[in-house]
Amino acid sequence: MNRNIATAGNSGTGVRSDCEITIELKGKNGIIIDLESKVKTLYGESIRTLCNEVLQFFDIRNALVKINDSGALPFVISARIEAAIKNLTDTDLEFLPEMASGNRYATTPDRFRFSRLYVPGNTPSMMINAGLHSADGIILDLEDSVAPEKKDEARILVRNALRQIDFYGAERMVRINQGESGLKDLRAVLPNNVNLILLPKCDNAGQILKVESEISVVRKQLKLKNPVFLMPIVENALGIENSFEIARAAESVVALAIGLEDLTTDLGVPRTDEGTESLYARGRLIMAAKAAGIQPVDSVFSDVSDMEALRRNVLISKAMGFEGMGCIHPSQVPVVNEGFAPDENETEKSKKIVLAYEEARKKGLGVVALGSKMIDPPVVARARKIIELAIKLGKLNPDWIN
């Protein structure tokens, strides 16, 4: 690299909680910071201090730094400075903000994944409050929502976001890019407690194995304790045909998602609200996932203003066997959660099953019956799961059994 001027980040009308950094390397005169910020009165000094700290970390001693800040949080500012520097010098160093203490939690393979909220990986204003909307998972997206020329800076931003933003218990997910670029993404995010990786445009088991082996190398190297799960997204006809092999490709694959925009493109048909064109594909993917013992999850619904259509869509999706759906706007989350949640009938039936089981157990009976029907252990397990969920969703008192 022999450039001496580079820019990273965003500014301009409509940009919030972000900043644009331009660094021009100089031969002398030390660090000169030219700061424009709408929070200058309150944070001017701390922005300058942070800027100097990052430059010193990367051993940059003479430079003119222009900062155009629209209220960016510190982890955003440092990510932008780092990105600009990495456009100027070759370095593997990472300027890591502190890992917030609440961000170290692990998740389990069978947790509910009703709603997963996509957040563009280069838009800080959409990340900061993403965890507030009760989505089961937050996806920091490095793939389709990031412009090709912004991939490198987004990777740094997402890494910092994983360290700093509290997602309040939501599963911490990242959608990586395909191929080589995706492996680069992986190496950046894995050390920062990512719970699940979404793999876009999967159409064979080999892709999973490649990612899986990279993950196990990094996990061993860094002695990471928390598991890292995989959610392949099937987005073409070949992927649908191979969905069973994809679902079984690795132990860490916990869910299989379908991406209908790309799939319908691959089929050469328009995507409709009724979804007749993808009926087979969805059914096939659901069977594959269920056969492999993992969760089939549905595509996103792209009209963010039509909540009624979304609600209908969710109910069909649930009826087919899907166990979750992607969201592209926080307002979709409650509709999706509500739709996949057990309704009153299901909850009541589950209560009866569990009560009958408890009754039988107390009496030492080996066989559980509800009315004239025998109840198998898996039915009891499912009833318990539904009850657990109803409690979690506030639809049932935790103390219901009394």
């Binding site: 909680s17 709408k38 929070v39 009165t41 944070y43 000094e45 701390s46 629209s70 917030a100 409050n129």
Partner: protein
């Protein structure tokens, strides 16, 4: 020249005189007891006015001349036409061309459309503004460029200052969407209808001279008259008093921000679970996007439960009108109509009643409507660890908003402030408010997207929420969370010079705003 100062009951350093007049430092909420008699304007005689009742003169300039416009006078105007007002700037344009100096402008509020008065502050036509300032006007004052010291009052405090003679209005210019030649006037009808014009009521009764300006002259009587012609000296008819689309928003809109919606949902849920929301409840909420969303959620709950609100106090909007029309609210008492639905309703629905701040908020009134309200939803730029609130300056120290009815509304039974924990990077909950506008003892609940804090004084509310699952935090925890995310902010730097005084509802000085260091 150093002015002596004292520390008031809120712990703020206050100069003993402002604009050369002695002031009373804040004594505590409900502690000041005025004595004496109300101010009285000069006595007129009816035979000095046209026997045929026709007070129309040919121009605003002629009316101002006839009123004896001269140096140092206090001129009042009102914000009924909001950002579409074409007349208040015109008053000072005329005054400037008449070479009048050192006027005091006493608006009920100012809007961005009033930015051109900066010119008349610079050329000496206006000495100072006693009223709200925002945007460029606020910055102008904060930078110490206004000659006199601004005085900020609540809507009720403005009436108090008029009634006890703290402010003596020489000429009130009242812009009216409809008026008759005798001066009776109202806020409905005509091309510039704004709904109600109650903010001018006190001015009409106490000013030495009163001019009514309209673009819709109707035959006498202009009924129902909000302003009575008996108080009016001159009527001026112009082509246009305002720009209709800037007078009222066509429709006010609930917030579309998912984060604000979350705050609104949490607020409605709190109101339901605490038992504050009940059959017969009285409600006031503003026209901001979050308040409107709260109103919608409250409406849904009341519908579901079959409850009715006895009355809502407006700032009315289409959302409140919907509650009235669908039967979840018996009456709207209205001080200002914010959108076209509200304007239509106040003009046609007998249960939608104009109710001026003269009656609702006035400190010298025999009772206070706001203390009868169960639910009061308000905003703030900052709240501190003692629940003190700021509405006039931003954290950077610049004047940015008026007080409006905010201070008056603090006297409601349950004062609830739904606020984002931070705006961009700026924490809303701070150690100490930059400018104190309302004492914390009157602010009950802060609701943010990251949890809510109840004033420890409200033991009853805290008890009512036991086991409710509401995300209760202490205010300190909320502040710490904001600082964890945003970093601890520096304090803005001020110079000694006082650029604005903030009055409490009783006319005492609760805080001052100083010139920002530039």
């Amino acid at each position: 020249m150093a002015v002596k100062s004292v520390i008031n009951a809120a712990g703020r350093s206050i100069p003993l005189t402002i604009n050369g007049e002695p002031v009373i430092p804040f004594k505590g909420a409900g502690k000041h007891h005025p004595t004496g008699r109300k101010y009285s304007p000069p006595i007129p005689a009816c035979h000095d006015y046209p026997a045929d009742g026709n007070k129309v003169v040919k121009s605003l300039e002629e009316a101002l001349r006839k009123c004896g416009l001269s140096d140092g006078m206090t001129i009042s105007t009102h914000h009924h036409l909001r950002d579409g007002d074409l007349i208040s700037n015109r008053v000072f344009e005329l005054a400037s061309s008449m070479r009048v100096k050192d006027l005091v402008w006493f608006p009920s509020a100012s809007f961005p459309c009033n930015d051109p008065v900066i010119k008349y502050l610079e050329d000496g036509t206006i000495n100072r503004i006693e009223g709200s300032m925002n945007g460029p006007l606020g910055r102008f004052v904060s930078e110490g460029r206004m000659k006199g010291t601004a005085v900020l009052r609540s809507h009720g405090g403005r009436v108090q200052a008029i009634q006890d003679g703290e402010v003596k209005i020489d000429i009130a210019v009242i812009v009216a969407p409809s008026a008759d030649p005798f001066g009776n006037a109202r806020g409905t009808g005509g091309p510039s209808a704004c709904g109600v014009i109650g903010y001018a009521k006190a001015d009409s009764m106490y000013a030495s001279k009163v001019i009514v300006v309209t673009d819709n002259l109707v035959d006498l009587p202009c009924y129902p008259m909000e302003i009575e012609g008996n108080y009016v000296d001159y009527v001026v008819v112009v082509d246009k008093i305002g720009i209709p689309e800037k007078i009222v928003s066509g429709t006010t809109q609930i917030t579309r921000s998912p984060d604000r919606l979350l705050i609104a949902k949490l607020t409605a849920s709190f109101l339901e679970k605490s038992g504050i929301l009940k059959d017969g409840v009285t409600i006031q909420a503003g026209a901001g996007g979050t308040s409107l969303a709260i109103a919608v959620f409250i409406h849904q709950i009341m519908k579901r439960k079959g409850w009715k609100s006895k009355f809502g106090f407006g700032g009315s909007t289409g959302y409140m009108v919907k509650m009235l029309e669908e039967g979840q609210m018996d009456y709207i008492l209205d001080a200002q109509a914010f959108d076209l639905d509200a304007v239509r309703s106040v003009g046609t629905n007998p249960n939608h009643i104009p109710y001026p701040v003269f009656n609702a908020y006035n400190y010298h009134s025999k009772g206070n409507l706001t203390s009868m309200m169960d639910i009061m939803i308000l905003g703030a730029t900052e709240v501190d660890l003692n629940f003190n609130g700021n509405v006039v300056t931003h954290s950077d120290g610049c004047l940015l908003h008026g007080i409006g009815g905010w201070q008056n509304c603090l006297h409601a039974r349950n004062v609830i402030l739904p606020l984002p924990l931070f705006r961009d990077r700026i924490p809303v909950i701070v150690d100490e408010v930059t400018t104190l506008c309302g004492p914390g003892e009157l602010i009950d609940v802060i609701i943010t997207e990251r949890g809510m804090a109840i004033n420890p004084l409200r033991k009853d509310l805290i008890k009512s929420l036991k086991g409710s699952g509401m995300p209760l935090r202490t205010i300190k925890e909320l502040k710490d969370e904001a600082e964890r995310i945003c970093g601890k902010p520096q304090k803005p730097q001020f110079e000694e010079r006082v650029v604005a005084a903030v009055k409490w509802v009783d006319g005492t000085v609760i805080d001052v705003v100083r010139k920002i260091k530039t």
